[in-house]
Amino acid sequence: MGAVLEARGLVKAFGARRAVDEVDIAVEAGEVVGLLGPNGAGKTTTISMIAGVLRPDSGTVHVDGLDIRSGPAARARLGLVTQWLTLYHDISGRENLEFWGRMHDVPRKRLRAAVDRALADVGLHDRADDRVDTYSGGMQRRLNIAVALMHDPALLVLDEPCVGVDPQSRNAIFELVEARRDGGVAVLYTTHYMEEAERLCDRVGIIDAGRVIEEGAPAELIARLAGGTSLRIRVTDPAEHEKAVKVLAGIKGLRGVTTGDGAVCVRSKGSDPHIAAVVAELLDAGITPSSIDLDTPSLEDVFLELTGKALRD
């Protein structure tokens, strides 16, 4: 299946700073691709170029084979959900969707049906005629997403759509994205929340300082980059910590044995945590473990490993 979105060699500089530097992204129909990065990494700039609202210094963006800057036909294939709300608060949700439907060239005779469907998709049918300023934050976020669904786009671009929403609304947004993906829509999704990416994304690209520094399926990235499972072992007699360290250091497949906070910590080199070997070796040495906690690595570990723990503004 061909890529619905194909962005190649995107570059954008603001003054001397290269906000986006040779970024390539491809998303196929029925696929969700995540773009992850810290603040100021270039996610929104990349999305803006993909949406055709920011001219790249170099590089190309094609949606369904059409150059995004070639005209209305290409933009009509794209639905953009911005991280800020693009709603008129003094009119109703239905009126907002009618407005955006007209802006997306939805034919007049199909407009009402498109509005009703979008409202149903985001669970706002019963509040459709209320003013938007009476909506909760989560409802406004869902309506903001509905704006991008009005014209059944082939490519859905979501820029941090779950910022500030409650778990119920977030779950509703996840289900909506999954339903559209299952319907064959290509989805490009940016987020700060790694659990969102792990749940939704078939592939992720991690962007920092304007460059995509890693990409792949979440599980593959975790296996390749997060460095195995962590074990946190408590023993009945804390005086035996030093002895436990020596025992654990001798087990093949483990690395990085440390002590601290009343426990011995060790990481496995692969996905196998070697629990049986750990327990057996400790018991053989006369050390009785009182508890073993497993800390399975996550995409967040990968993210922090790649982008560092220093604060970003």
Binding site: F14, A19, S48, R55, P72, A76, T82, W84, M103
Partner: protein, 331 residues
């Protein structure tokens, strides 16, 4: 609805009622010329029951003295490079009638006739007419200011950037936005003209010229608001600056105190304000009635069109950047 239609109508009626002593509009108008002879064809508006009595004076000083003593309601000075109006205190209607006559007569004075000829033009202006015009202009500026400020908030809220991701092109979006604001202003002016004319019998003058002037007035209001909204301050301060500026323009433009009754400098300032030009144009049309020509509104049209072009161009240029978003562009 409240600011656009109800308030202007209510205020017009209240203010007109407060000045109803001028309702009969029997006016004594002094006239003098700057040259040796009083040479002009003077077109005087008014119906038979509302006559304008024309009283010639030998020079400006005598005309001024007559105005100050109350012997005449106002005086016009014709024949010089620029016509002048003499009014004592707050007399908006005589002032406006005199001004309309003065400007029209100035054209004829240049042709050097030998005597004053009185021509009844069938025009009529009463306090109600004057304040209907004044309030229409005032509330048009408020309505347009609100619309332009709302548009500015859309720009700052990055709504334009989102709109740019739709099939619509930026120039289409801007045309739609400015077109809608323009239409809003025209509807307000149109409704106020219709309501004041049909319900209160307000005389606006020749319909075609009134329509042309209304277009220019709405354009000028849009231009002024577009200029004011680009002042680089915080939004809450911008609202204050805008309202103060609107009131200032209204005061300087003569919507509360006609500049003819103030020192000459105010009259000159009024002509540099779009409000003053709009009031000047509309009251001339009302006062002169059938005698109005395109020349009657040429100056207001020129000034207000220029303000409209400059302001809207500035607004469009400042909006261009609002169509772009990005980590760098947005901040």
């Amino acid at each position: 609805m409240l600011v656009g239609l109800v308030l202007p109508v209510v205020l017009t009626v209240l203010i007109a009622a407060a000045f109803s002593r001028e309702e009969s509009f029997a006016m004594r108008l002094g006239i003098t010329a700057t040259g040796d002879t009083l040479s002009a064809r003077v077109v005087v508006p008014g119906y038979a029951e509302d006559p304008v009595e024309l009283i010639p004076f030998n020079d400006r000083a005598a005309a001024s003295a007559a105005v100050e003593s109350g012997h005449v309601d106002a005086a016009v000075v014709v024949g010089g490079p620029a016509p002048a109006v003499i009014v004592n205190g707050y007399r908006p209607v005589p002032a406006r009638v005199a001004r309309a006559i003065a400007y029209l007569s100035a054209e004829d004075a240049a042709r050097a006739g030998s005597h004053v000829q009185l021509v009844s033009a069938g025009g009529k202006i009463r306090p109600l007419d004057y304040f209907a015009i004044s309030m229409t202009i005032l509330f048009l500026t408020f309505l347009i200011w609100g619309a332009v400020r709302s548009f500015q908030e859309e720009k700052e809220g990055r709504m334009l950037a989102r709109l740019a991701a739709t099939p619509s092109r930026p120039h289409e979006i801007l045309a739609g936005k400015y077109g809608a604001m323009f239409a809003l202003g025209l509807v307000q002016v149109g409704v106020l003209i219709a309501v004041s004319g049909l319900v209160f019998g307000v005389n606006w003058g020749q319909p075609l010229l009134v329509a042309v002037l209304a277009l220019a007035t709405v354009g000028a209001a849009l231009g002024v608001a577009s200029i004011l909204v680009t002042v680089p301050v915080r939004p809450e301060r911008r609202a204050l600056i805008g309202m103060v500026s609107m009131f200032l323009l209204a005061v300087l433009g003569g919507q509360f105190f006609p500049p003819e009754g103030l020192p000459d400098v105010f009259d000159r300032i009024a002509r540099f304000t779009p409000n003053g030009q709009a009031l000047f144009g509309f009251t001339n049309l009302a006062a002169l009635g059938k005698a109005s020509t395109f020349g009657t509104i040429a100056e207001p049209l020129a000034v207000m069109s220029a303000v409209a072009c400059v302001g809207i161009l500035l607004g469009v240029v400042s909006a261009r950047r609002a169509f772009e978003i990005g980590d760098g562009a947005a901040k």
